[in-house]
């Protein structure tokens, strides 16, 4: 079906044809023609944010919680540059996102026109691909191609930069067609031979471990189902990265908790001592591996990843498998079943008793208190109170993020929204808004820090306007806690600019925005206040005053290996002061 229409109409038509129901955006001169189309229809609903970065993270939260691409629409110049952080965030966490930016008219490009910036130049390194559309004839094809590129292969953000004259120009619109892309062809099916070797290797393992990541979640619900099946079939332990939480249920017996810098002792020790490691959809990130030359020294490694550039990037592996996780897992499960494979029972039992020994170290332990709220306790209570409900949890960045990952148990994929790769403070509130837009009936909670929440607090106004009852649960320690912790570990406890002076009164702030504010500072009052938060049918800011100087443990100090973790019961002042060597101090 071909039809004559303007560029702006094409944008809306393409969004509809791509099944887009929500767009997050902010208007401006260079996108007015598109906004004029938005108001004249109601198939695509527009959520007006208060800052373009908020639109970006909201789209990410929407995408992460639905598996569909998030869509944003912003103006040229400052609208586009405000979007850069969210694009970089989506790039590192492989989140599908389509960003439409307005641009000055084609004849003004390069003239330093009002609100002109080189959007494709600025966003090139932080997008999977981007386009400047110079002719209206190219617009329909590029719009559909953008959705295809963003959502297939390793997902990621794309930018379509549309000059204003192209939005006004008329041309012929064409709907999405299924034609092979001329150069971009992601590979989904893994090499059968490699898969067969991986299955055989696994069946001969004596100390196997599965190390899974965000790729499983990106691959979709089927991938998570197959993963659960394979874990059950093999009896092997499983750990996951921050991005992969929820792919395997936290209540599962074979679950070791998260691994990495703030992962559990048992997960990291098992990674270190395993003889066969199956990495599925994770990328050997530096927060995971710790010191590289001491990373899992005695294991044979299998790596399943849809992106060939992830293979052998930092850790060389023995069996690389390039393909989509669900496809590869399907083959693995089938081969495991048809081959009647089994891991040696005695070896596996021995491995589990070793793991149980590490588990008994209880690496997440903290000293409870009756007078002050321990941050870990606050997360535990939040978890207990929200169990059994449809709950989506987003976070900001810092200690609270790690405690949420450690103490909130995720049973299902797509319910955990966090900025893993870029570590963007200010991600959580807009991400929760995005999730709430997609799931109006669900409980959407942003677990926040007192510093991070101020980075995109203006989005409270969005939440109120659109009746999105998100809950902001602030673990208020009056510090940039994670920065303070690192200053204690690395810089002689000189707390340079990490104390949060002059924090606002969060209760009044909530009220000023038209939301509801709650403040609690006694453990005994916490449960009732959580009930109140959950029952409130509008946005809530919960100012949870927690112990100020708590450190987040366990921890692999910079420059150390998995088996050199700092455990909470060993972390006295002296151990903390000496945890990191001179070499380690240079690391990030």
């Amino acid at each position: 079906m071909k039809r004559e229409m303007t560029g702006a109409e094409m944008v809306l038509q393409a969004l509809k044809d791509q099944g887009v129901e929500h767009v997050f955006g902010y208007p401006g001169g260079a996108v007015l023609p598109i906004y004029d189309e938005i108001i004249q229809q109601d198939a695509v609903r527009h959520v007006l944010v208060r800052h373009e970065q908020g639109a970006g993270h909201a789209a990410e939260g929407y995408a992460r919680s639905t598996g569909k691409p998030g869509v944003v629409l912003v103006t040229s110049g400052p609208g586009a540059t405000n979007m850069v952080t969210a694009l970089a965030d989506a790039m590192l966490d492989s989140i599908p996102m389509v960003c439409i930016t307005g641009q000055v008219p084609t004849n003004l490009i390069g003239n330093d026109a009002f609100q002109e910036c080189d959007t494709v130049g600025i966003t090139r390194p932080c997008t999977k691909h981007n386009w400047l559309v110079r002719r209206v004839e190219d617009l329909p094809r590029i719009l559909h191609e953008a959705f295809y590129v963003a959502t297939t292969g390793r997902p990621g953000p794309v930018v379509i930069d549309i000059p204003k004259d192209v939005q006004f120009a008329t041309g012929e619109y064409e709907g999405p067609r299924h034609v092979a892309h001329k150069s971009y062809r992601p590979r989904v099916k893994g090499d059968m031979d490699a898969i067969r070797r991986a299955v055989e290797l696994l069946s001969r393992a004596r100390r196997p471990i599965f190390y899974t990541g965000g790729g499983v979640i990106n691959s979709g619900p089927a991938a998570c189902q197959l993963l659960r099946e394979l874990i059950e079939l093999t009896g092997a332990p499983i750990t996951s990265t921050l991005m992969g939480l929820g792919a395997f249920p936290a209540s599962g017996k074979q679950w070791l908790g998260m691994l990495g810098m703030h992962g559990t002792y048992e997960a990291n020790m098992a990674m270190h001592d395993c003889d066969v490691m199956i990495n599925i959809g994770a990328r050997f990130d530096d927060r995971i591996t710790g010191r590289l030359d001491a990373f899992s020294p005695n294991s044979l490694k299998v790596h399943v990843d849809i992106d060939p550039s992830s293979i052998n990037k930092t850790v060389t592996v023995d069996i690389p498998i390039v393909g989509d996780v669900a496809h590869v897992l399907e083959d693995m499960v089938r081969l495991w079943r048809t081959g009647s494979h089994q891991i040696d029972k005695a070896a596996l039992d021995g491995w589990w008793s070793q793991i149980d020994g590490w588990r008994a170290r209880n690496s997440l332990a903290y000293r409870p208190s009756e007078d002050i709220i321990m941050p870990q306790y606050a997360i535990q209570r939040l978890y207990e109170k929200t169990k059994g409900r449809e709950t989506y949890v987003s976070t900001e960045v810092g200690q609270h993020q790690m405690w949420a990952a450690q103490f909130f148990g995720f049973e299902e994929p797509n319910h955990w929204l966090t900025s893993g790769g870029l570590g963007t403070m200010g991600y959580g509130l807009p991400a929760a808004i995005g999730a709430q837009v997609a799931h109006p009936e669900a409980l959407c909670v942003d677990i926040a820090g007192d510093a991070s929440i101020l980075m995109n607090i203006q989005e409270m106004s969005t939440a109120v306007q659109f009746g999105l009852p998100v809950k902001i649960f602030i673990l208020n320690n009056q510090y940039m806690g994670m920065v303070r912790q690192w200053q204690q570990l690395l810089h002689g406890n000189r707390l340079s600019h990490s104390y949060m002076e002059s924090l606002p009164d969060f209760v009044k702030l909530a009220e000023a925005y038209g939301g509801h504010g709650i403040r609690v500072d006694k453990p005994a009052d916490l449960d009732a206040a959580l009930d109140e938060m959950i029952a409130t049918p509008k946005p809530v800011i919960f100012d949870c005053r927690v112990a100020n100087l708590t450190n987040c443990f366990p921890m692999i100090p910079s420059g150390k290996a998995h088996n050199e973790m700092l455990l909470p019961d060993e972390a006295n002042d002296e151990a903390i002061a000496n945890a990191i060597s001179a070499d380690g101090k240079a690391l990030v």
């Binding site: 090139r124 390194p125 400047l132 150069s183 530096d286 550039s309 293979i311 052998n312 240079a586």
Partner: protein, 190 residues
């Protein structure tokens, strides 16, 4: 051109690079569209890879295809990374490591040629010496006055390097080089 790559996306890795860097020539087939070269160069600078030489030109007009030839240096793992990172770029059709292919056929290198224009100014004995050397290197004179020559030379990079360095004491004024163009030996194409 760029700083030595340590294959280290974060300072977190202090693992020493044990493998030795090698020079590789990559042939990259791309859509000839605006910005494609910026994508390739941005990838190299953003990830700290070396570019020793880079040439680009449209090679198949009807299909809008250009061929980029890149000479880069890195350890085998870094070279593999560069290859895969290039393949991730959407407008890239194909990446071929010509050096690896040449080795597979028992050659040290693929066919590689570079063109250089070299200006030399001087009089008397030095001038005659420059002309004699040009003859020995099969360089041709493409511009001359009583005080200068411009030579054109084609050859492998090390031959061009050698010719330029010999001309230095003989009044070398300036040089313009094309960068390396390369093809695989034998009858097949990419």
């Amino acid at each position: 051109m760029n700083a030595q790559n340590l294959n280290a996306p974060s300072a977190y890795f202090m693992a020493a690079v044990t493998e030795t860097p090698e020079s590789h020539t990559l042939s990259v087939l791309v859509d000839n569209e605006p910005g494609v070269l910026a994508r390739v160069i941005g990838l190299f600078s953003g990830r700290g890879y070396n570019i020793d030489s880079l040439t680009v030109s449209e090679t198949e007009h009807e299909k809008h295809l250009s061929r980029i030839t890149i000479v880069t240096t890195g350890t085998p793992l870094v070279i593999e990374q560069i290859h895969h990172q290039l393949e991730r770029l959407v407008p890239i059709h194909r990446v071929t490591n010509l050096t690896v292919e040449a080795r597979g056929r028992n050659f040290e290198k693929p066919l590689e040629r570079e063109l250089a224009l070299i200006k030399v100014a001087g009089v008397g004995e030095k001038r005659l010496e420059a002309l004699r050397l040009a003859d020995a290197f099969r360089a041709t004179v493409i511009d001359a006055t009583a005080e200068h020559f411009v030579f054109e030379i084609t050859g492998r990079t090390n031959k061009v390097d050698q010719f330029i360095s010999i001309l230095k004491p003989l009044g070398l004024v300036e040089v313009s080089r094309s960068g390396v163009a390369a093809l695989q030996r034998g009858p097949e194409g990419l």
